[in-house]
Amino acid sequence: MYTRLVRWIDDRLMVSPLWRDMADHPVPAHVNPSERVSAFVYCFGGVTFLLIIAQFITGMFLAMYYVPDIVNSYNSTKYLMHHVLFGLQLLSMHNWGSSLIIIMVTLHMLRIYWMGVYKKPRELNWLVGVTLLILILAFGFTGYLLPWDEKAYFATQVGVSFAKYVPFIGPALQKILSGGNNIGAATLTRFFAIHVLFLPALLIAFLGLHFLMIRRQGITGPY
C-alpha cells in the first residue's frame, strides 16, 4: 500500500531520489555517536532543529486560545492553563522548549567555536549561525511578554530600556520597540506580530541557508 503510493507519486514527481539524497547522505565516522560516543557533541545543532519544530507545532496550537490584547491576553492564557485539555502541558512544553533551545544552541555554538569550524571556508555559515542565534534570542524576548503577567511586563520594561543606551538613536529605538512611550497595548501587538509572523519567516529562511551551506561544504574533519 505504502510502496504503491510512493511509486504512484514517484511516477509523476520523482521525489524519492530527493529524499534518499537527504536521508542516506553519509556522514564521516568521526561525527557518528555509534562509532564513538563522544561524537554526541555533533548532535547539538540537530537537536536544536528538532526543538524548533516542536516549538512551531506547540505554538500553532497555543494560538488557538491566545489573544494578543492587554485586556484578554492574561485571561486567555489563564483559561488555556486551567480549562483546556492538556493546555497547561502544551504551554509548558513551549515554555521549557524555548529554554532548551537556548541551551542547545549555545552548546552548538561552543562546539563550533571550540573546534574552529568558523574558519575558512565556513565564515559565511558562521555569520548565518550568529544571525540564527540572534533570531532565537529575539523569539525568547518577544515570547516572554505575551502572557502579560507582572514578570513579563517588567522584564520587557527592562529589556526595552536597554535600547535607550544605543548612541544617537537610542530614545527613538526604544519608542519603536515598545510601539509608544511606554509598555502597553501597542507593545503587546507588536511583540506578538514579531513573535509569530516575522521571526518564524526569518528563521525558516536562515535555517534553509544554514543547511544548504552545510551540505555544500560538508562537516569539518577532526582537529
Binding site: L62, L80, H83, L85, L90
Partner: protein, 195 residues
Amino acid sequence: MAGKRPQRAGWTRRDFFNWVLNVVMGIIAILVAIPALGVAITPAFQNPAPTWVNLGAATGLQQSSVQAGTGGVGTVVKAPYSYIEVDHWAKLPAADYAYLRYIGGSCQFFILSPICTHLGCHVNWIQADNQFHCPCHGSVYTIDGLNVSGPAPLPLGVFRWKMVGPDVWIARESTFTHAHQRMVEAPAQPCLKEA
C-alpha cells in the same frame, strides 16, 4: 524452526539503528501531538454551565403581562435583562430579552427564548396575530412557541427559571441547548420552574 525467520539474517546493525531512530522520533512526535490535539478538540467536551440572570420582580412581570392581555389573561411581553456574559476568557456586559407570559396556576410563568430555531434571528411577538414572526425567513410560532410554518425545525426554546426572593431568574444556556430541551412530545407549555 530457525529457517522460518529468514528476515533475521538481513537485520543489520544499520537497520537496528534506523529502527531505534524511527521509534524514538515516533515517541517524540506522539508526545508533542497529544497535548496539541487535546487543545484542539477541547471544545467538543465542554458543556458550559447556564448563566442565571435576573428578570426582575415577579409581581411587576405578572402585572405587565396581565395588563398587555385582555380580560385578566396574561399575554406575551418582552422581559429585557442585562448580565455579564462569560465567553471563555472574556467577560462582557451584555443585554438581551426573553418573552414572558403569566399563565397562572402552579407554574405561573412561561418564559420563551426569542431565538429562532432556524438560523438564530430574534423573533417578533405580533399581538394582533397572537403569533411570533421571524423577520429573517418568515418562520411562524404559536403563542406557546410551537413552530407552525416557515423553515424553523424546532419550537422556540423554553427557559428554566426559579424564584430568588421576590425576583424571577432564568437560566441562559446555549441556543442549541434551549431548542433541544423541548421534546416533541412535551406539553405545549412545559413548566420548567425550579424549586
